[in-house]
Amino acid sequence: MGLVIERASLLSSLSLMQGIVERRTTVPILGHVLIEPDGSSLALSATDLEVGIRTQVTCNGKEKSLTLNARKLFEIVREAAGEEVSLTSLDNDWVEIKCGRAKFKMMGLDPRSFPAMPSQSAKEGAPAGKKALKAELKLPSSVLGEMIDKTIFAVSPDEARYNLNGVYVEAGSGTARMVATDSHRLALIEREVPGFKMDGGAIIPRKGIAELRKILDSGGDGEISLSLEGQLAYLKRGATEVSMRLVEGEFPDYRGVIPKSSKYKVAVDRDALLAAIKRAAIFSSERYHGVKFSLSPGTLTVSSTSPETGEASETLDIDFKGEEFSIGFNAGYVQQALGVLPQGSEVEFGLSDDVSAGVMLSPADSKYTYVVMPMRL
């Protein structure tokens, strides 16, 4: 009896689970991985009931299904010396783990009490009345990865605003669109996906899309398929599947808040601006992170003052011919957006006045729009 698994592949599978298992859960089994041997492979599963991940690892030997604390098992396998790890079930859900000359005993839980993956439970509870969502987003994994990277940072962390706790996906004409906002700023990206159609949109939860993002980089840039069905988003790549419950709720009307035009357009070197903001932010207050953008003919000055600590300012040369004016922004909001734009590129700022939204566009990527509301300084 017992399973023998290659240490490296077990480690990489377990590391995928770490983002999902709950650290401080009141339900112990949500901190566990389910291990289900099936012939020459075993399936590892973890879920927090909202997001689930399931992956296959090859193995030798025979064993019944087990559960083990995901964090502890990960630490054991990470620190293990040998090339292989063996798992053997003992009585009362205890499991013996051996690797090299080290031996561990860990208490598992009854595998029958392991909850169903969201993919299973969501199918059981089909939505009543509402028209069922069914869409298939097929695109290269690198494109999906880029779309996630350029939007996910704008998702609201405020759990009270649950309808902003995810990335909104919808179809354009021959395109897929992803939008995220925390009500202070908004990121929108659109990419060509011929034949992509869906009725309305879906909000993919932040945690789930972050987990999904992790498996996109492995295994080359092949085409992948993200299924949006019922209350569920689902993606399979190689031996790994991620499923998650969609956020229920109405995504706000994002189109209405993107300015159609701006009074001033200012082109700035992305790298120089990012560096200037980072330096100016040293003296922005810890509570608000505000930095001031002052425009005057030919220059943009980025500055900050803190009554307690000091002040900073830096001037960049720009092509600006309008009237002098200044506007405050949360430094982090601007930095994060600049951070996802390509190095060495130029960004174009659209500004109107100190209480209207600023728009950041990337001439290198006309299908990416970032809108940020100012701060009163």
Binding site: T181, P252, V257, R287, G328, P374, M375, R376
Partner: protein, 431 residues
């Protein structure tokens, strides 16, 4: 203990005492904490507003059956009248005393004015009640000069702008600053350097330490601990045996270790209002509901003034059945909301809900509402969707309008009908 005179006692000299004990260079102190305490605050406000009362023994509160004295002028104190004394006793001690009812809204108004003065000296002001506050003067010396001069200036500003007198203690710890302001009353200023801290504390009776209540004091006396110095010289392990975890804590305080910092308003942890009733009320009485409405509105308004919201609401009830020794059973119940609030009716709704869950059938003598889990509202960051009405936008507009009315016409200008129906006794701010 040497008592050198302070550097300069400038102008306008009715000052009773302005002394620096060990007026060392305050810029070298680890912390410079001032405790400012208004002298006989409510009584002084009455004398200020009504010149006919000046020089007379004025006693605020204590007129009704259960009423206690909330403030007594120094003229009344000569007869032994003290705050928190039952009215009947005060009348016996000072038959010629002039008893006046309290005017809480006026006291609140002046208290705000004073707080604004304090805030011009330091951004970190922690009000303890309407008439006292800690002010963190650490690092202000470069801007404002040495701490004792700052304290002199602060006392001068309060006197000039309000006509009232404030006593100030300045020390490296909160506890010492508070003891000092008490010792130098009335009309005094005392400053104590860190090198004299233990010399100063040790001869004082041990009950001056924060955390030594009646019960602890009795046990201290059993172990021959009378003065703070007796406690300071004891072995920590021994004290742990006597008083548990509190032993080492009190030992630290006795040796001048008081790590508590001044907590500015925006870092505040809770807001509360409570009052003791003139007569006991049943749990399901309308009176109790009214009190909760008044408390909810008052707390919400303070939250909005400070641009914060609270997530947790608690209800505090003191039952009317005495336990002996002036103590009563205390009940507290809490509930956390999904979204933080600064709305009076919502706080009242939760408090009323908590009240409905109390199963005791007894009457209550005190009801209080408190909110915790304070979160800052970032009013400076503009929102993308502000044009579209949020679900509670109507309420927010109403609250803003109420705040504007009260700011212009005073706190009494507008209240909810039910809260007004019977004028509730002035509530006491807690924390």
């Amino acid at each position: 203990m040497s008592v050198p005179p302070s550097g300069k006692a400038s102008g306008n000299a009715r000052r009773h005492s302005e002394r620096s004990v060990g007026a060392s260079d305050t810029s070298r102190w680890p912390r410079v904490i001032a405790h400012a305490d208004m002298d006989a605050f409510y009584a002084s406000v009455e004398q200020l507003d009504n010149p006919a009362l000046r020089g007379l023994p004025v006693i605020v509160g204590g007129a009704s059956a259960r009423g206690v004295v909330t403030s007594a002028s120094y003229e009344a104190r000569k007869f032994g009248v003290r705050s928190a004394m039952p009215g009947a006793q005060a009348r016996k001690l000072c038959p010629d005393g002039i008893f006046v009812p309290g005017r809480m809204s006026r006291y609140v108004e002046i208290s705000r004015q004073i707080r604004r003065i304090f805030e011009t000296f330091s951004p970190i002001v922690e009000p303890l009640s309407l008439d006292e506050a800690f002010i963190d003067l650490t690092g202000t010396d470069r801007l404002l000069g040495p701490a004792h001069q700052v304290a002199i200036a602060l006392r001068g500003r309060v006197r000039e702008e309000t006509g009232l007198v404030v006593s100030v203690g300045v020390a490296p710890t909160k506890m010492a600053a508070k003891i000092l302001s008490d010792m130098c009353k009335p009309d005094g200023l005392l400053l104590l350097g860190p090198e004299h801290l233990t010399d100063f504390l040790w001869p004082l009776p041990v009950e001056r330490l924060w955390g030594v209540g009646r019960v602890t004091l009795e046990r201290m006396h059993q172990h021959d601990i009378i003065a703070i110095g007796d406690l300071a010289r004891r072995d920590v392990g021994e004290l742990r045996g006597f008083f548990g975890a509190m032993g080492p804590h009190l030992h630290g305080l006795a040796n001048g270790h008081d790590a508590r910092t001044v907590i500015g308003d925006w870092q505040r942890k809770s807001y509360g209002e409570e009052n003791t009733f003139e007569r006991d009320h049943a749990l399901d009485s309308l009176e109790l509901r009214r009190v909760l409405i008044a408390h909810g509105d008052a707390i919400a308004r303070r939250l909005r003034t400070d641009a914060v919201r609270a997530r947790t609401v608690s209800l505090k009830l003191k039952l009317a059945r005495p336990l002996g020794g002036g103590r009563y059973p205390l009940l507290t119940r809490s509930f956390s909301l999904e979204h933080p609030t600064d709305d009076g009716p919502e706080i009242t709704r939760v408090a009323t809900f908590l009240l409905s869950r109390v199963t005791a059938k007894e009457k209550v003598r005190l009801a209080g509402v408190q909110v915790h889990n304070i979160e800052r509202v970032d009013a400076n960051q503009l929102g993308l969707f502000e044009g579209a009405p949020a679900p509670d936008a109507k309420n927010e507009r109403l609250n803003r309008a109420l705040d504007a009315v009260m700011k212009k016409f005073g706190d009494e200008a507008i209240t909810r009908g039910l809260a007004r129906a019977e004028r509730v006794a002035p509530s006491r701010r807690i924390k």
